[in-house]
Symmetry: C2
Subunit: 167 residues, 2 copies
């Protein structure tokens, strides 16, 4: 099953390399990965999605926690979390097809962000399954290019915050 792992890491060159080495050694393919700065300039937060068993995910979590510059690791797969995935999709849409594509976009609360005589770029944000459903609806129209952020995840309101306080 897909495991969502959040790691808080110090902003040091080489930390991504140590983490990706671990995944390579274990032969796990990372389904998606986002790394970005956080509320503190000294730390980055990673959201990793790995398709693996519960036992293997537990091993990965333990190994990650041992890596230098990794401050905190949580497998939030079975926790109450908010998840989001953002996508930019470029699609074929001439004047005749445009209205139809825009209706689909509207249903999914997606937003047209660029247009040319033959193409549209649409931005969609939401749960991955909803983003997937949106892309599925667009497929017959002719998808030119997709760029996705991959999953970001955050424990729901009211759940205890670990992270920097423990650092």
């Amino acid at each position: 099953m897909k495991h969502t792992i959040i790691a808080l890491v110090e902003n040091e060159p080489g930390v991504l390399n140590r983490i990706s080495s671990l995944f390579r050694r274990r032969g796990f393919n990372i389904e998606s990965l986002t790394v970005c700065r956080t509320e503190s300039p000294d730390y980055s937060r990673m959201t990793l999605v790995v398709d693996t068993s519960d036992t293997d995910a537990e091993q990965v979590q333990k190994q990650l926690a041992k890596i230098i510059n990794v401050v905190d690791v949580q497998d939030v797969t079975h926790e109450p979390i908010v998840v989001r995935d953002a996508v930019l999709v470029k699609i074929k849409a001439d004047a005749a097809a445009r209205a139809d594509v825009m209706t689909i976009a509207e249903i999914f609360n997606a937003k047209v962000v660029d247009v040319s005589p033959e193409e549209l770029i649409i931005e969609a944000v939401g749960y991955e399954s909803r983003v997937d459903a949106f892309l599925e609806m667009l497929k017959p129209k002719g998808i030119i290019e997709i760029t996705r952020t991959g999953r970001i995840a955050m424990p729901r309101c009211g759940t205890p915050v670990r992270a920097m306080n423990n650092a």
Copy 2:
């Protein structure tokens, strides 16, 4: 300056490790990184943001292109692109503070996605500078946690598509 590099890579374990090794060797800190599947199940698309000189960025691009499983690399920093950054932010907001936070959210077209008696989670999507401005406005209210996707980028409509066709 901040360079935005898009790389199309084959979905093979180890490719992320080879790329992060290159950045470690050169001592570059990756400002943000997203990796996710694309319109083809065989490929992932990475968006990398690296703060470096034009000369160094050109070197990085050349080195990346030489890596096995890397199909295409473009430095799109000076190209016409659409960029997006998504953020989830958890903020202190009791009943008294909630209306004020929600007004700020509305101005930035941000969306409340979770609530508890003392907290809110808000989703915002847009250009990084706008997301930054939103977070700056929220700071005095008490930010608990931030998770960002980092930048995704796509060449504007009407620009020639490289990517898979060349693979």
